[in-house]
């Protein structure tokens, strides 16, 4: 009878995300993190020392559900509940690198999600602002970041479409929420010379990055395809001659 009930509960009760903010670091996690940085980030072309150090420091395992701990340092996006994902580490590193952040620069993140990206940014910049519109994610991310000691990150529950006017202008803006256009208010809150980055595509398939740079009245958009994409375009351009 007990086995039947257990089996029923096992199959019927939905698995609730149970975060690992209380899971402390360990030599195994540190080793996995080190390997992640070396093999999936550094070897693929991310060379900024500050970014590599940030990826080395932030405990990604604290930002994933407990039942996904074994995969915390694998180079893949991970579902974190409510249809959300924590981005692939390589994409996080690349996005951070292309922003070219300095310590005293101000950065705004739209879409806090798990809080992992914000934590990485906070390792480099002292002025990180992050907005999350989904309350559950906001509360969880806030809790996780506070418990890890990221007290300099300012997180707000609100509509990121309008940015954070009180803290603007920003040297860098990162949009990690899915968008079909870049919100005009965010472009207004970008400083001259500022950089805005966002990923395109579905995280479970493949992604490219877009970098928008403000130069006077012009906004230059650059597609950062990264090492992942080069074989495809290289093939497409070289091999497909009629």
């Amino acid at each position: 009878m007990k086995k039947t009930i257990l089996a029923f509960v096992f199959f019927v009760v939905p698995a609730l995300p149970n975060y690992a903010e209380t899971v402390s670091d360990s030599p195994e996690f540190a080793k996995a993190r080190n390997q992640m940085v070396r093999t999936t980030i550094e070897e693929r072309g991310v060379s900024d020392a500050k970014v590599l150090s940030a990826m080395q420091t932030v405990p990604r395992h604290c930002f994933v559900p407990k039942d996904l701990l074994p995969a915390a340092y694998s180079d893949r996006p991970l579902p974190i509940g409510e249809g959300q994902t924590i981005s692939q580490p390589y994409v996080v590193a690349l996005m951070t690198e292309i922003l070219q952040l300095q310590k005293d620069q101000r950065v705004l993140e739209i879409g806090t999600g798990s809080g992992y990206q914000a934590a990485v940014l906070a390792q480099i910049s002292r002025h990180v602002h992050s907005i999350e519109i989904k309350r559950k994610l906001y509360e969880q991310a806030n809790k996780t970041l506070k418990s890890l000691g990221y007290n300099t990150i300012q997180i707000r529950h609100g509509d990121g479409y309008f940015g954070w006017p009180e803290a603007a202008p920003f040297d860098a803006i990162m949009i990690t929420a899915a968008v079909d256009h870049i919100p005009p208010p965010l472009l207004k809150q970008l400083k001259e010379g500022g950089r805005l980055a966002l990923p395109l595509g579905n995280p479970f398939s493949y992604q490219n990055l877009v970098l928008v740079t403000k130069q006077g009245n012009d906004l230059i958009v650059k597609q950062i395809t990264g090492v992942l994409f080069v074989p495809m375009t290289g093939y497409a351009l070289k091999e497909s001659s009629p």
Binding site: L78, P79, K134, H181, Y206, V221, L228
Partner: protein, 795 residues
């Protein structure tokens, strides 16, 4: 009568199958639901395997299943497992995206296969029992099963507007219970002892309790949570419902899909928007189809919502036609065509939205008259010409996931049709997501090029233009050549858009504001254009990394880009992540095929090990006969389902009409066969093949003719075409069961063969159609029935 039971079982299982397809369309993504449903249908074949093993066992055992009690128990088991499996599956935390990282998901997936297979197992067992126990009545049993199935296919169509999917699953599951009192009691009244009466009473009480427990609680408000189908958390609707002040105002269910109308202050949709547009975008209402595919509403009094559209890529077409007076907008999601039209001040507006509730919503909100009809049917019947035709379909967010989706809006025939409805200065606008490497835009450009060639354009390339931003492109197709591109160049320059294709532009102009490492799209489209000019376009298509051949009405799969020979390169490009490959519908179909093959081999070989030496095994010709009958039947069914999507505009409507039509007509054939000798096959099978050949030659013309007619005539004509074929298809199986087989074991095994053949064929057909075209399925059907003839002659 046993016929009542098989009729009700047939009704219930097909209704359940149709509802499962609807349920999975909401709760998952289509290609993933294909995986689960295909394997679950093996429950039918497994029942034949089990019965054939039983029939080779001890003498007493087969008789156990011939009693009233056992049939009643089987019906109750079917009913209980249908409801139980649906409820468990609906609440199982199965998440395909967690499969590679959470081992328990594999268990959940296996559980889904097994749970769904159970009801089909019991249903198949009941029907197989009927065939094995009453071989002299196979014609009538076939008639009852097929009739019931045909009506079951229609059941959800009629009732979905009034009940949700979960409620209809419950209803369909309990319907066969009605037939229990009608099952013949072979013991006979006079031989019924008090012990029998007591047993019967207990069974009735159990049946009643089962009904009550299974049905009433889930149907009540307290149990509604068990059966309410929720969209996948990864779908757009689930995402936006997490935002504050967001609510679903209205939900419509019909066979085409579930439409949810949502109000939210956070709805903002503006693909292809220029970075030079500095105002906020505020939209408040949208509809979601099956939890995804958003269509935004623009109220007629919300003038402030239109100006942003003049800064979108799509508006380029309107800017090029400042004197346009009439526009046709075909909306399959998005909705940004409407603000473009409003901003252009065009007064003569025709909007076509296929889905009736969605069309009503768009009309109500926009204050415009909206036509609810398949767009190609509308164009076939309409004599009108328009200055602008704006086709809005944004595709899916996961590349590859739409590989199996049929869409007739982007075929070469569609482009020819659009051009035929343009005024002399008219223009077609199509905007889509920009993919890397270039794929979709190349295919659409080529499709438009060939459409222009069909209309006699001398240099089709001069009638085409493409502009883009960082993630969207717009293809413009002009009736007149773009002899001077200055206006479009200015439009692009003023909005920081890049030109991709326009006669006379340079590579520098193609990569100015939205920079790639190289102007990939410009380079490839110009290569393709040069190939067309040299007459070497086929060589280009063959050598290109992806499949970008323009699609036709025979091969209308615009989302299909995979080339199997290049799969290792694709795998490396996706970061050597096997899982990313499984986002492709085509790869999922192939994986499912091998799974299905393994299951089939197991189900078909297992009974042979249990056959005693003295028992008569099915011969090879007998096996081939029933396998080919099942295969041929399914090839024909799928051929028509896929072909008729052009007529009806929707795959589920097409499925319902074709399945109901073929099953009804084949049931008539089965009933007619009851009084006929097996020699009738000598004429019937060749006649069927001749009819299939004539269908292959005449169907396209017939369909183009039917497209011009009103809905009722289109449906009637489509069904009538199925009549002779369906009738003839209804002969081989019942006659074979009755006259070509001798033992119960052989009949049960034939049932299993037939079931395995049907499932394997349905899976392989999906792949054949997208690679070679839908017509090949009819060729395969002809080949299958030739095998039927040959194997029959060798018996």
């Amino acid at each position: 009568m046993i016929s009542n039971s098989v009729f009700l079982i047939g009704f219930s299982t097909l209704a359940f199958e149709v509802l499962l397809t609807r349920i999975f369309s909401i709760s998952q993504f289509n290609h993933l639901s294909f995986m689960v449903i295909s394997i679950a249908l093996f429950g039918f074949a497994a029942s034949g395997t089990f019965l054939s093993i039983v029939n080779t066992g001890q003498i007493g055992r087969p008789r156990y299943f011939s009693t009233w009690k056992s049939t009643a128990v089987l019906i109750m088991l079917y009913s209980a497992t249908t409801i139980g499996s649906f409820i468990i599956l609906n609440n199982l935390p199965l998440d395909y995206f967690r499969l590679p990282v959470e081992p328990v998901q594999i268990l959940y997936l296996l559980a889904a296969f097994v749970l769904l297979a159970l009801p089909f197992f019991f249903a198949g067992f009941i029907v197989a029992l009927a065939y094995t126990q009453r071989p002299e009545k196979t014609g009538l049993i076939y008639f009852a099963t097929m009739c019931g199935s045909a009506l079951g296919a229609i059941f959800p169509v009629l009732l979905l507007p009034f009940f949700n999917e979960g409620q209809l699953v419950i209803f369909s599951a309990i319907i066969p219970l009605i037939g229990i009192p009608l099952i013949p009691n072979k013991a006979g009244k006079n031989q019924t002892t008090s012990k029998h009466r007591k047993t019967n009473r207990i069974l009735w009480i159990l049946a009643g309790l089962a009904m009550l427990f299974n049905a009433i609680y889930p149907l009540s408000p307290y149990g509604d949570w068990l059966i309410r189908v929720k969209p996948s958390p990864y779908k757009a609707l689930s995402q936006i419902l997490q935002f504050p002040d967001t609510r679903i105002d209205q939900t419509f269910n019909n066979i085409r899909g579930r439409i949810d109308r949502v109000t939210s202050p956070y709805i903002r949709f503006a693909p292809g928007l220029s970075l030079r547009y500095m105002e906020s975008i505020m939209q408040h209402e949208a509809a979601f189809s099956d939890g995804d595919n958003q269509l935004v509403f623009y109220p007629s009094d919300a003038q402030d919502q239109y100006p942003f559209s003049t800064f979108t890529l799509s508006y380029s077409g309107y800017d090029l036609c400042p004197n346009a007076k009439s526009v046709l907008a075909i909306l399959q999601g998005g909705g940004t065509a409407i603000p473009c039209i409003r901003a252009s001040k065009i007064k003569d507006i025709t909007i076509v939205v296929e889905n009736p509730p969605l069309a009503a919503m768009v009309g109500q909100r926009s204050g415009l008259a909206v036509i609810s009809q398949p767009p190609r049917a509308f164009l076939a019947a309409s004599p009108r010409h328009f200055d602008i035709i704006h086709v809005e379909n944004w595709g899916t967010s996961i590349p590859g996931s739409a590989a199996l989706d049929q869409n007739h809006l982007f075929t070469t025939e569609a482009f020819r049709q659009y051009l035929a409805h343009l005024t002399s200065e008219g223009l077609i606008i199509i905007s889509r997501k920009l993919l890397l490497p270039p794929a979709d835009c190349l295919r659409l450009w080529a499709g438009a090029y060939e459409g222009l060639k069909m209309t006699g354009a001398r240099n089709p390339g001069n009638h085409l233009a493409i502009i883009r931003n960082w993630d969207t492109f717009t293809l413009l197709i002009s009736k007149q050549p773009f002899l001077e591109g200055a206006r479009l160049e200015k439009f692009a320059r003023d909005r920081n858009f890049d030109l991709v294709f326009l006669p006379g532009i340079t590579a520098e102009q193609a990569n100015r504001f939205n920079k790639f490492d190289a102007p990939f799209h410009f380079v490839e489209i110009n290569r393709l254009a040069a190939a067309y000019l040299r007459g070497e376009e086929n060589a280009y298509f063959r050598s290109y990394f992806l499949d970008i051949r323009p699609q036709s009405d025979n091969r209308p799969f615009p989302g299909r880009h995979l080339k199997w020979l290049k799969i290792t390169s694709l795998y490396r490009t996706l970061g050597s992540r096997l899982y990313a490959l499984l986002m492709s519908g085509e790869i999922v179909v192939s994986v499912v095929f091998f799974e299905a093959l393994a299951v089939s081999v197991f189900l078909l070989f297992l009974p042979l090990f249990f056959v005693r030496r003295s028992a008569k095994k099915p011969s090879l010709p007998q096996g081939l006969y029933f396998f080919a009958v099942g295969s041929g039947f399914m090839f024909i069914e799928l051929f028509f389902i896929k072909k008729y999507i052009l007529l009806f505009g929707d795959p589920i409507i097409s499925f319902t009409v074709v399945v109901a039509g073929i099953l009804i007509f084949s049931s008539f054939g089965g009933a007619w066969s009851q009084k006929k000798e097996k020699s009738v096959l000598k004429r019937a099978l060749p006649v069927l093949i001749v009819v299939l050949v004539l269908t292959a030659l005449a169907l396209n013309g017939l369909m183009n003719y039917l497209l011009r007619f009103s809905t009722i005539w289109r449906y009637s004509g489509a069904v009538l075409i199925l009549l002779p074929i369906g009738f003839l298809m209804g002969l081989p199986f019942p006659i074979g069961m009755r006259d070509l087989l001798d033992t119960s074991m052989q009949r049960a095994y034939a049932w299993s063969l037939n079931g395995c053949a049907s499932i394997l064929t349905s899976i392989v057909s999906a792949q054949l159609a997208i690679i070679f075209g839908i017509s090949l399925l009819l060729g395969c059907a002809i080949a299958a029935y030739l095998i039927v003839i040959l194997s029959w002659q060798h018996m």
